[in-house]
Structures are given as C-alpha cells and as structure tokens.
C-alpha cells in the first residue's frame, strides 16, 4: 500500500455518554468530581457538564489509528490536552500522515491527529509514530 505525505485519515466519530465517564472513574480509581458531578464543573467555571477523562480522549485517537491501519504497531504517541471533552459531546478524530520513512523494508509513519468536539477543534492534539509490518 502506498502512503502519501499529507494523506488524510478516515475520520472517526463517537458520542460520549455519562455512563462511560463512570466506567473510566472506576477503572482509573479516580474520584475527581469533575468527571462525576456537573455542579462541581460549574463551580470551577470549567463548563456545564462532566468532563471526560484525559486517557479516554487519547483512546479515541488510538481508535482512529486502528480504524485506518488494521495492522500496525504503535511506537509512540504524544498528546497535548488543549481543552475539555464533556459528557454528551460528539467527538471526531481527524488526522493526516505527516512523514513516511522506509527502514529495512519496514514503513514508519508519523501521524498528526486532532480530537474535535462539536464546539471546539483540536481539544487534544497528538503526534503518533506507527510501524506498518
């Protein structure tokens, strides 16, 4: 398969439900009230609904990679959290191939990825390096 610089990835989308935030709080053993109590989020001036966990946001970005490359190995992923995803948001992940390297017949791709909500683009900005076997 040919990979081109600047090639867009197939967009990935998902709707965030409060029940997922509860799962993540339990799995992470994270009692931070911003994930469970929307009044606390309002008190802090951070928004009007519960804030999704950061690792869940990164999971969506990884899911977009998985959806685009069915056989790949994730080498690294760097994530900057620029804003919040809220319970009830519709998120999309968009991205493109920013570098292609062929080393000993193995292809390494660098991907620039963005997690967007219906209200804000680039809530999370990620750079991932993947190996295509």
């Amino acid at each position: 398969m040919n990979y081109k610089l600047g090639q867009n990835l197939i967009e990935w989308s998902f709707k965030i439900k409060q029940e997922y935030l509860i799962v993540w709080s339990e799995v992470l053993d994270d009692p931070n009230p911003i994930h469970l109590n929307k009044n606390k989020v309002k008190d802090l001036g951070l928004g009007n609904n519960c804030i999704n966990q950061g690792p869940a946001n990164v999971a969506y970005i990884i899911n977009c990679i998985s959806n685009n490359f069915h056989k790949f190995e994730l080498i690294s992923i760097k994530n900057k959290f620029k804003g919040n995803v809220f319970s009830g948001d519709n998120v999309t992940v968009t991205g493109l191939i920013s570098s292609v390297n062929n080393c000993d017949e193995t292809i390494y791709l660098t991907l620039d990825l963005y997690l967007n909500t219906q209200n804000k683009k680039g809530v999370v900005e990620s750079t991932a390096v993947i190996k295509i076997p």
């Binding site: 009230p33 911003i34 950061g54 690792p55 994730l74 080498i75 690294s76 994530n79 900057k80």
Partner: protein, 140 residues
C-alpha cells in the same frame, strides 16, 4: 502549598493485569471494535495510561501525598507514551514510577497553577515495556 519533597519520590509500585473483561469494558466505552485475533491477544493500547491505577497509590492518594485538594479539579496537560512492546491480556506486569518535577506558572485561562511532571513505567521482569510521561495541571 504543594509538598515539594515529592520531587524525585518513587512510587511504591504495583502489579497490573488486564483481564479480557476489563479490556472489553474499555473497548465498549470508547467505541473500539475488535474483530482481529491479534487485537484479542493484545489489550487496547490505552492501558498504557490506565496503568496509572497500579503505581502503588490511588489517584486520590497521589494528590494527598502532593498535599493537593482534589476538589480543586486537577487536569491532565500532556501525556507522552513510548511503546517498546504491546500489552497482552491476562499477563501480569509490574508498574513503577517517579515524580520528576513541580513548577509554578500563571495561566491566562485558569490563573495560578502548579505543574507536576511524573513518569510511569510498565515492566515485564526486568524489561521495560512502556514509559509514560505525565504533566498534571493543578489549579491553586
């Protein structure tokens, strides 16, 4: 005031096992569809970050150790993961980590903040499989 003695503190560490059930729970809660047999052998890569629950402190304990009131709403600023191997389902791993630094900054958006950087490592025996660098933002 945060506990500045926390800098260079090594976490007690712990063990980490990803069951098939918890992997499916995470897949379902993030919209991941796994029809691939390899995917069923390996966990979702986000378990690299979920291993934070196995550093030997709960997240609540970590903030207590830092002398930070979790009700102020700490946030994740950055997280960088380096994978040297994929994590398998039903395999036991060791988790360790260390607090690297604490910085004070003024944010235009949320005012005075402390930034805590810490690293988490996932091992199998003596072999390091993953390293994860976290940057937490703690509003004052």
């Amino acid at each position: 005031m945060l506990n500045l003695d926390a800098i260079n503190h090594e976490f007690p560490g712990g063990n980490f096992l990803i069951s098939k059930d918890i992997n499916e729970l995470i897949n379902n809660s993030t919209g991941m569809i796994d029809n691939d047999s390899d995917v069923q052998k390996y966990s979702h890569q986000i378990f690299s970050m979920i291993a934070l629950n196995s550093i030997g402190y709960s997240i609540e304990d970590l903030f207590k150790f830092l002398k930070y009131d979790i009700s102020k709403g700490p946030m994740l600023g950055e997280c960088n993961v380096n994978f040297f191997s994929m994590l398998e389902i039903d395999k036991n791993y060791k988790v360790s980590g260390k607090i690297m630094s604490i910085e004070f900054k003024k944010s235009k958006k949320i005012g005075e903040i402390d930034i805590v950087k810490f690293n988490v490592y996932i091992h199998e025996d003596d072999f390091k499989l993953l390293s994860i660098e976290y940057k937490l933002i703690l509003p004052r």
